[in-house]
Amino acid sequence: MEIENFIPAKYFCEVYKVDASFVDSLKEYGLITIVVYEEIEYIEKEKLNELEKMIRLHYDLNINMEGIEAVSHLLNKIDTLQQEINALKSRL
């Protein structure tokens, strides 16, 4: 594990001013992956964008975990469809 690619989950919560329980819930719902290294929980820096999006959905739009899960699923689906559209367009 290359430590510079991760940030401690605790530090993430401090910086973004979110409850640790928020991160726990995201983990429970399988929306983020937490890596444990020497008994400290870490979040992948690459996933920060996604996490910020989830913070906005939860804290600003009042969307609960089930909602975030459904939204994430649908956004992934949109992304896949967009890629298919691009591939089909380039074949025309």
Binding site: V15, Y16, L48, R56, Y59, D60, I63, V71, L75, Q82
Partner: protein, 302 residues
Amino acid sequence: MEFIDYYKVLELNNTATEAEIKKAYRKLARKYHPDLNPNDANAKKKFQQINEANEVLSDPEKRKKYDQYGKDWKHADEFNNYQRSQSNKQQSERSSQQWGGGDFSGEDFSDFFGSMFGGQGNGRRSQTKFRGQDFNAELQLSLSDVFTTHKQTLTVNGKSIRITIPAGVENGQVIKIAGHGGEGVNGGPNGDLYITFSIVNNTKFKREGSNLFSEVELDLYTAVLGGDITIDTFDGKVKLPVKAETQNGMKVKLKGKGFPVYKREGEFGDLYVTFKINTPINLSEKEKELFKELSKIRNNGN
């Protein structure tokens, strides 16, 4: 600059309570939020309007000013003088949902808002460190440009960035250039720059991933009797032996003569050539006679 009816934007009347404003904002934000409407410029614009309306109407001070002077915004300065005389008045606590960072900062507010309130909105998580805004840029290239890896200098937000464009990049493909987006908020890291490639096909080849497709015209005699022809590949010409009795629409695969495979140096896809057989026209008498002879040997030419 036009007056903006913030109540209309939030689909409320001007007697709406704080709770009604909050509810209306959240309902519309859930519909138009850019996180939920990726790459939708109309939704983004609508969201900015909703956000601006909420910024004003959810703040009792701003709402008061707007209600009093909104339609006559040019007189807002008079209101400011009035405000100064009320300097002891306690600042009301904000409950606005304006972004602390991300894609929507005060600079997205309208001129109308700027005139009345001086621009920047407040932030619920205003002291929170946030990554800077991600920038999106589109780079148009021709298909022949992306046949080879090359470097290109781009100007994004006034800064020059030299990027390497790997051969074989796809139309619509997005690459991320970390740290070249907007500056972080409150000391947060910079955002990233996302470049979407728009590749225009300026060639006669069709491309699907790393495979190329082309059509080659073949004269009747070469199709029937076989022979060698020279065909165009993407980066040159090759000699192609044509089998005798080649049919119209028949395909041949030229291995490794396709497009470079993305980020796999030295690897290429295949070129699929479809033969299109041209039958002769303007036949001489002699040719007609010979074709008649042939038709007698084989009924219907099959």
